[in-house]
């Protein structure tokens, strides 16, 4: 069975990534270095915009306070897209 990875110290960025993986099918795994860091930053930005679009937020592509607040709210565990 999948065992939950212990949350890393920089909770915010990893929990943000977990959120986008779980609810917006963020997949950072398939890039080979050194492309990874550039490509994954843009993938991350796309997924943040997708989430902002779903919740009717301004699509800045970065973790502004509004976006973080929505992420922290109690929610359903089912994905928002590609369900």
């Amino acid at each position: 069975f999948y065992t939950p990875r212990p949350k890393r110290p920089d909770l915010n960025s990893s929990s943000q990534q977990d959120y986008l993986k779980r609810f917006y099918s963020l997949n950072l795994g398939d890039h080979r270095p050194p492309v990874r860091s550039v490509r994954s930053a843009s993938t991350m930005e796309e997924k943040i915009q997708e989430m902002q679009n779903f919740f009717g937020l301004k699509e800045t592509g970065n973790m502004d306070p509004h976006t973080l607040n929505v992420m922290k709210e109690a929610r359903c565990g089912d994905p928002d897209v590609d369900n």
Binding site: Y2, P4, A74, R75, C76, N83
Partner: protein, 348 residues
């Protein structure tokens, strides 16, 4: 609103559910009440009927678990994700899992230190949307919005978006069914229209075979004893209140095998029982049959046919239902004052 790919939904409109594991945070009956209320929100908007069974093979299985719990979606501890559910289908399809690491309550409320909504009704209502075939809605007023709705005061109900979504899958509530039943009751062509009639609070309740029809009207509460064969039951608020009793406790002769009708006349403290062509008079105060009974109906009930199928009291008159007619009998004038077609009681 949105659907899963290929729009999976339940083919059968009667959907079974069971609660496999409860939370220690709430009384069992409160969990069941919250789940029932959540189910009612969806059944009120569709032709769906939900039946609770005590079997894990139910279509929808509700359970409370923490962290890894047998599917590939472990929960995340207090806060964050409170529950998830699966789209309609076999096995785990339709099932609803609640995160036991939350503190579950029946009322709408915020668990401040965890900053999480933990009221079971709103979470169950959302997850049931998934169980029935809806995915997340972008409409913040919808129950299917990913973050549980902040409805601390407004009555919790489906939004238009939820209703449009679920009715796209299943259609609206069975208006047709109601008219079908209505037309069916008017098609009654039995020679004996009713088996029995009684009053339950403000409603006249007609019994025929396995049907019973409630007619509400402005009536005085009255009391009748619908009797079947040689047994009778006392019913209170439609819950069987007593074990089956024997009619012979009332003093009927052993030859009597069934009572056709009964009606209580509170002005005299008497209850009339009609058996074939005879009738008995029972004194409720002394709790025994009056002497000199049984007597022939036709000798004492002028204008009433030889046999009675059902009887009840309404606004000072006794109504005796015989065959397809009902006879309004004024027990002060001791005569029939009106004859009404039996079906008219059903609005036909």
């Amino acid at each position: 609103f949105a659907f899963y790919p290929n729009r999976p939904k339940w083919k059968n409109h009667i959907i079974t559910y069971t609660i496999a594991r409860y939370t220690p945070d709430m009384k069992k009956e409160d969990v069941e009440k919250s789940v029932r209320s959540a189910l009612k929100m969806w059944s009120d908007a569709t032709p769906l009927k939900f039946i609770k069974i005590n079997h894990r093979k139910a279509d929808i299985v509700f359970s409370f678990s923490r962290r890894t719990h047998g599917d590939f979606f472990p929960f995340d501890g207090p806060g964050g994700v409170l529950a998830h559910a699966f789209m309609p289908g076999m096995g785990m399809g339709g099932d609803v899992h609640f995160d036991e690491d939350e503190t579950w309550t029946m009322t709408l409320g915020k668990n401040w230190e965890l900053n999480t909504y933990s009221d079971l009704l709103s979470v169950a209502a959302h997850e049931l949307g998934h169980s029935l075939g809806l995915t997340h809605s972008r409409d913040p007023s919808a129950i299917m919005y990913p973050n549980y709705r902040h409805q601390s005061d407004a009555k919790y109900s489906l939004s238009n978006d939820d209703v449009r979504g679920i009715q796209t899958l299943y259609g609206g509530p069975n208006k047709k069914m109601e008219t079908q039943v209505a037309s069916k009751k008017c098609d009654l062509t039995f020679p004996q229209l009713f088996d029995a009639v009684t009053l339950i609070e403000n409603e006249i309740c007609f019994f025929k075979n396995r049907y019973n029809v409630f007619i509400s009207s402005q009536i005085d509460a009255a009391y009748d004893i619908p009797a079947k064969g040689h047994k009778y039951w006392v019913v209170e608020q439609l819950k069987m209140k007593s074990r089956a009793g024997s009619i012979y406790e009332y003093g009927f002769s052993s030859r009597v095998r069934r009572v056709d009708a009964a009606v209580h006349v509170s002005e005299y403290g008497k209850t009339m029982f009609f058996v074939g062509e005879f009738y008995y008079r029972y004194d409720e105060h002394n709790r025994r049959m009056d002497p000199g009974f049984p007597r022939l109906i036709r000798n004492d009930w002028s204008g009433v046919p030889r046999r009675v199928d059902a009887a009840f009291k309404l606004q000072g008159s006794i109504f005796l239902l015989c065959g397809t007619k009902s006879y309004q009998y004024d027990f002060r004038q001791k005569q029939v004052v009106n004859v009404i077609p039996g079906k008219s009681w059903l609005g036909c």
